[in-house]
């Protein structure tokens, strides 16, 4: 319990608390397969048999055709920048409860064979980044089957 006063000098009583919500998320077989493959430094998506688009992260149905994907596809280990955010405003990572260090950069990686996904970019200078530039992944040494197994993406040399 804390006390404050307002502009007129009246006492304001506040109750302070912190809320922690421990959670466990089931991956299901499709996301689980992809997350497991991260341990081997491999990115796997699934392909819709109708529109041929590759979905990453993989999905149970194609969001365009509403058909079940028909095959697993190992993705190339590069992509293009679709867009990016160099973030200077710290926010809490809701999975860990830890405040993020700034600046950091997020990007949407566009895959050469279709689809795109959010991840981190290890370049924080917006002048060096632009939609269409080629990026490659940097893997962590210790991987445990989660998106952070990828440290992030860097510009391919010469970009």
């Amino acid at each position: 319990m804390g006390t404050k006063t307002d502009k007129q000098g009246r006492e304001i009583v506040e109750i302070r608390y912190e809320m922690a919500i421990p959670g466990t998320f089931a991956t299901g077989p499709i996301m689980g397969h992809m997350l497991n493959k991260l341990k081997d430094k491999e990115l796997w998506g699934n392909r819709c048999g109708k529109c041929q688009n590759v979905l990453f992260p993989p999905k149970i149905v194609c969001p365009k055709c509403f058909e079940e994907p028909t095959e697993w596809v190992k993705l190339d280990d590069w992509g293009y920048i679709a867009t990016f955010d160099v973030v200077h405003f710290p926010t809490i990572n809701p999975l860990t409860g830890i405040m993020r260090e700034v600046p950091y950069t997020t990007l949407i990686v566009a895959l050469p064979n279709g689809g795109g996904f959010f991840h981190f970019c290890l370049e924080n200078d917006p002048e060096k980044l632009a939609p269409g530039k080629k990026v490659i992944p940097v893997w962590k040494d210790k991987r445990e089957g989660r998106p952070s197994d990828l440290e992030g993406w860097v510009l391919e040399e010469g970009q």
Binding site: K4, I12, V87, H88, N93, I108, A110, P131, P147
Partner: protein, 389 residues
């Protein structure tokens, strides 16, 4: 227009003064301020209201089922009630719901209440919990994103940068005329461009604030509207478009949920030239870079004409096509109330009693929007005349 069983009118509007700090009241008392204001505006007795539709953001204040707690502040005791929570569009969706509830003949009077007390929680943490916990949650930054700014800069260069800043200045100019607005600041384009970077090229002054506030609108049948003192504002149509799990990230800049909503609404209501036929537009502008992009989407400007229009002052209160005379979302953002405030402000403009920020002309039609995660958009059309006239 859409098929309606019967006409629905807005016959009362109530808002709090939106503020960054409201430690002097709790959530129930905050909501009751808007309810008391709408009862005063409509001259309705609370006992004659049939149903309450209540909404705010999930997770923001960390209160489960706040509509239960708020019963003594919102007057829902003993009445039918619904709680609706659709993220940033909540305020717009409760309006759709209240409209449907009256149009269907189920109720003659429905009070829609949107509210948020952002100081009592952690907004960005609430928003980032929207993302898929298996991939995006670790990455998402919430509403603070410059991706559209990057795309607009890439396409239009420095004029886009100037126009986003100028639009923010216009919102501040309008907000100073609206005593209910939260940020009523005096700023220049230079101030906007010198404010600190949040997510390049998005700067602090481009971004909406975290506000505390509530807004309530009374929706009634035509028969009841005739008995109430305020000039009725008629619900004409509304369109909702969103792409939760189906949006194409690569083409994020061209998701065009806004454009799709506008095309459907215009086609159904015989609107060929929105800037000529619609008198005022209250657009949900969470940040000025999005505003810059979305003006183009809603108004069907395919080549970035809005950039020149902003720099010409065409969207000013006395301009060619007034946008956000209230000061918009960048001036006040009690999120669960933000989208219903857009409808309230559009309705005030039609009634002609918005106060100092009233546009200096008769408004026959007005549009308003709500916006939320995954480019969820709700577009409303309100009119001075009944829709079937």
């Amino acid at each position: 227009m859409t098929k309606r069983m019967r006409n629905v009118a807005i016959s009362g509007i109530g808002q709090t003064r939106h503020r960054g700090h409201r430690e002097d009241v709790n959530m129930v008392e905050l909501v009751s301020e808007a309810v008391e204001a709408v009862l005063e505006d409509s001259k309705m007795d609370l006992k004659d209201i049939d149903c309450i539709v209540h909404g705010n953001m999930e997770l923001f204040e960390g209160v489960h089922q706040p509509d239960m707690w708020h019963v003594l502040g919102d007057g829902a005791y003993g009445k039918a009630g619904f709680r609706i929570t659709t993220g940033g569009t909540t305020g717009a969706t409760i309006v759709c719901s209240a409209d449907h509830l009256v149009a269907s003949g189920m109720y003659d009077s429905v009070l829609a209440i949107g509210w948020e007390k952002q100081e009592e929680g952690m907004t960005t943490t609430g928003i980032t919990n929207m993302a898929d916990p298996l991939w995006e949650r670790e990455i998402q930054t919430g509403a603070i994103t410059g991706t559209h700014g990057v795309m607009m800069m890439n396409k239009f260069g420095e004029p886009a940068n100037q126009a986003a800043a100028e639009f923010r200045v216009l919102m501040a100019d309008n907000a100073r005329k609206n005593y209910k607005a939260h940020l009523r600041i005096e700023i220049t384009r230079k101030d906007v461009l010198a404010s600190r970077v949040l997510a390049w090229p998005l700067r602090l002054l481009h971004m909406c604030p975290e506000s505390n506030g509530a807004c309530a609108i009374l929706f009634v049948s035509e028969k009841l509207a005739k008995k109430l003192p305020q000039k009725p504002v008629w619900m004409h149509d509304h369109v909702t478009v969103h792409r939760q799990e189906t949006f194409d990230l690569v083409n994020m800049g061209d998701l065009d949920t806004h454009g799709e909503a506008a095309r459907v609404l215009y086609a159904r209501n015989g609107i060929l030239d929105p800037m000529k036929q619609v008198g005022v537009f209250e657009m949900y502008d969470p940040q000025s870079w999005w505003a810059l992009d979305w003006l183009g989407k809603f108004l069907m400007l395919e080549n970035g004409e809005q950039i020149e229009m902003i720099l010409n002052g065409d969207f000013a209160i006395d301009g060619k096509f007034p946008v956000n005379p209230s000061g918009g979302v960048v001036s006040s953002n009690p999120i669960g109330a933000t989208a219903i405030i857009r409808v309230a402000e559009a309705a005030l403009q039609i009634r002609g009693n918005a106060g100092e920020h009233q546009v200096p002309k008769d408004v026959n039609l007005a549009m308003s929007t709500g916006f939320g995660g995954t480019f969820w958009t709700v577009l409303h059309l309100l009119g001075a005349e009944k829709p079937d006239k």
